[in-house]
Symmetry: C2
Subunit: 202 residues, 2 copies
DNA sequence: ACCTGAACACCGTTCAAGT
DNA sequence: ACCTGAACACCGTTCAAGT
């Protein structure tokens, strides 16, 4: 019917994801809808499918932006700190992020998403950047020969942080959930690092 | 229209959850539908809402059965084993369970579920039973005065196992995901337990 | 008391038709 | 080239009406 060049492809992309962001923040993934996005940005539903191949693809791109947001929040801790204290700083920021952006963060790990052939390259890169923050923090605990162990330890910590925050998010009380997640993360870091020091040669 | 006393309330409950189980196992939560369940068990949609207050409630009860299944799988490890080896045994069974029942297990941690006023009592009890398996395994590492620390450590391990398996489930290759989850869990246990031994008085 | 099924208010997705 | 919106095939949920 109508013909519109009001916005460039890039502008539309931003508008759609901004509106998606808003909807997820407000009521979680369950209140995100392509039809509602279309209505809100003043285009028809079809236009969304011009930009994204399907609804899951839209969510994946929203998640990409969430990973960027998380990365911007997690500033690199000063190298003068112990690995242990660097980890504490990273994890505290992480926990805060998962609580203040609870619905958005939950969206990252939504199991209903159907991703064919694994996650795309550009998405995995964003995760790697986050992982590198941890890897860098614990680097002093490993000799340069043990890059595999260092990498695996970074994964263990990353997964564990995720698990702790993920299960804490089932609690509704914000204050209580945050402090408990902080306590558990603290325990994890203390013991895990102490263990590393026992087993790693230097 | 029709009037049916073919099945008791309890039988209907079982039939519905059995069919739900089947659908989730087959295609994940995204292919679960109240209408499809009704059709499959030969009742109308309305009947489902006679047994469950809403769709989320149905999922919650399905999850209850999954927790039972998991508990039955995780047999208590022999007390003659080290805490460390007991944990390894528990975690290996856990990992295997999450992979062979991937869709069902993912369902436990679905973020789209809306639970008002937190999880119900009967549900939390099932989780506590699982947690106690871990708590029992690590008990020898704590003096009887440190029951709080013991409990927190059990939570840390439980959350971390969850995090590792959860992120491993994003990988599609079954073999590879299982072995990597096993490797990370192994690292976690080794280092965390070593850390506990450093810090716990006995 | 139990069950039905039409009705309601939504979905994601497609694609011929318009400009 | 881009956008529309009707059409399709689904949803969860409710509730008056039937037996």
């Amino acid at each position: 019917m109508a013909r519109r060049y009001d916005h460039s492809r890039e502008e539309l992309y931003e508008m759609i994801l901004n509106e998606a962001h808003r909807q997820v923040m407000d009521g979680g993934l369950r209140s995100l809808s392509a039809r509602k996005i279309a209505k809100e940005i003043g285009y028809s539903v079809g236009t969304i499918y011009n930009l994204f191949s399907n609804f899951d693809d839209l969510i994946l791109h929203l998640n990409g932006r969430t990973l960027d947001l998380l990365f911007e929040n997690l500033s690199v801790p000063p190298e003068t700190l112990d690995p242990e204290d660097q980890l504490r700083e990273l994890s505290m920021t992480y926990i805060k992020f998962t609580r203040t952006n609870q619905n958005l963060w939950n969206c990252l790990f939504d199991n209903r998403l159907l991703i064919r052939d694994g996650l795309p390259e550009w998405y995995n890169k964003k995760i790697d950047k986050l992982l590198e923050l941890i890897e860098k923090a614990i680097a002093p605990l490993f000799s340069s020969l043990n890059s595999l162990e260092r990498h695996q330890s970074a994964w263990v910590l990353w997964c564990s942080f995720h698990g702790i925050c993920s299960l804490a998010n089932f609690q509704s009380d914000n204050e209580e959930a945050t402090t408990y997640a902080a306590t558990l993360t603290d325990q994890l870091i203390t013991n895990y690092i102490a263990g590393l020091k026992v087993y790693q040669p230097q």
